[in-house]
Amino acid sequence: MNYFLWILVVLILLVIFRVIKGPTIWDRVLAFNLISHKFIIFIVIFASIESTTFLLDLAIIYALFGFLGEIFLIMFLADRVRGGKEE
């Protein structure tokens, strides 16, 4: 059961290369989305290893707040080509 955590961390390491290399900002945000997704699964497996239920609250918080932070990053990254607000 423990080596699942190791595999997940290695996967996160691989996805971080995409955050470094990503040509456009959108690839970086996509890679960040995948990383925060993998962390949720990391916590669920960690909680099931220790079989403590309150660690799952943490996974719910990760799902909600990771989503929220990302949404705002994406929303305000928009180039506002339509809005024509080119300072």
């Binding site: 961390v9 989503f67 990254l77 300072e87």
Partner: protein, 316 residues
């Protein structure tokens, strides 16, 4: 396992520091503080992992909204050109001297600062006694609501001052800001529909975190931030300006006064000790729950005001 994730955190912080574009820096900061939250979990503190996860989301939101008002976040080149205008003073004073100083302090700190043996006397004392003295099952909540209530009061006071500062520094008048359904965010219908589904979950989850803060991991702060997250989701659905910011501000100050009164009455005046022994645990649990609820609501109101003031700053 922790060493691998800590190295991951080191990599992300190095990238935060040596990144040129502001947008990527904010993204790396968000990533590094989420990994730091995982490290807190592995170091044995789920409370802090929750607080750090919510902190990373709110800090990112504040940065993105704050900086986006003035720069188009994507091409920062136009705004960083004024760094070149000033003539470059000598490289040594600017870059190499601080490097030497910081490396010097780092080496000194590593060799001499940390005492090698750490005694666990205080830890064992508190872990044995906290259910009797203050009640509840979560040692962290028992500490910051029972043994160290002073610290919580001053921390709540600081939050009130932070909100007052933000309210006064962000000049905001409805007429100049283009009202209506905050037109820049033409989110798609599907996004609005699903955010409407997710939003109630956040507020129910916030109340759950506050309710059993003293039983399992959670507490006033994390619950309050989760409730504030509901209003951040609400920002997508409804207009920005229908929240009575001034009333909420006054309500928050009022709750702060109640917190101070509550702490003064029960802990300092020792009201709980006068309760007959049979009702002692009940009185303690009521006290912990009410304090957690008050702190949660205060933190939630504070961050709602913070968020709505930031969003409403008009862009010049």
């Amino acid at each position: 396992m922790t060493t691998l994730i800590v190295i991951l955190w080191l990599v992300c912080s190095v990238f935060v520091i040596f990144e040129k574009k502001i947008v990527r820096m904010i993204l790396w900061l968000f990533l590094s503080s989420i990994i730091a939250s995982i490290i807190y979990l592995l170091l044995g503190s789920p409370d802090l992992a929750m607080a750090e996860a919510t902190a990373s989301a709110f800090v990112t939101i504040i940065f993105v909204i704050g900086f986006e008002k003035f720069f188009n976040l994507r091409d920062m080149k136009k705004y960083l050109k004024d760094e070149k205008e000033i003539e470059k003073e000598n490289k040594f004073k600017r870059y190499i001297l601080p490097a030497i100083i910081s490396i010097g302090i780092l080496v000194l700190f590593i060799n001499f600062a940390i005492p090698v043996e750490q005694n666990d006397y205080l830890k064992n004392l508190i872990l044995d006694r906290f259910t009797i003295d203050i009640g509840g099952e979560n040692a962290v909540t028992a500490i910051y609501l029972g043994y160290r209530v002073y610290d919580t009061i001053f921390e709540a006071l600081l939050l009130v001052i932070a909100v007052v500062a933000v309210v006064h520094m962000s000049n905001f008048d409805i007429t100049k800001v283009n009202d209506g359904k905050h037109s820049e965010l033409e989110t798609s219908g599907m996004a609005l529909f699903l955010v409407r589904i997710v939003a109630p979950i956040t507020i129910i989850f916030g109340v759950y975190l506050i309710a059993n803060g003293f039983l399992s991991a959670g507490g006033g702060f994390q619950g309050g931030l989760a409730i504030a997250c509901f209003f951040v989701c609400r920002f997508f659905i409804y207009d920005i300006y229908d929240l009575p910011i001034k009333k909420i501000n006054r309500l928050e100050d009022f709750i702060f006064i109640i917190i101070v009164a509550m702490a003064a009455l029960t802990i300092f005046a020792g009201l709980i000790q006068q309760v007959p022994y049979r009702f002692m645990t009940l009185a303690q649990e009521i006290y912990l729950f009410v304090m957690n609820a008050l702190i949660g609501i205060k933190v939630a109101l504070g961050f709602i005001i913070l968020f709505y003031r930031y969003v409403a700053i008009e862009r010049n």
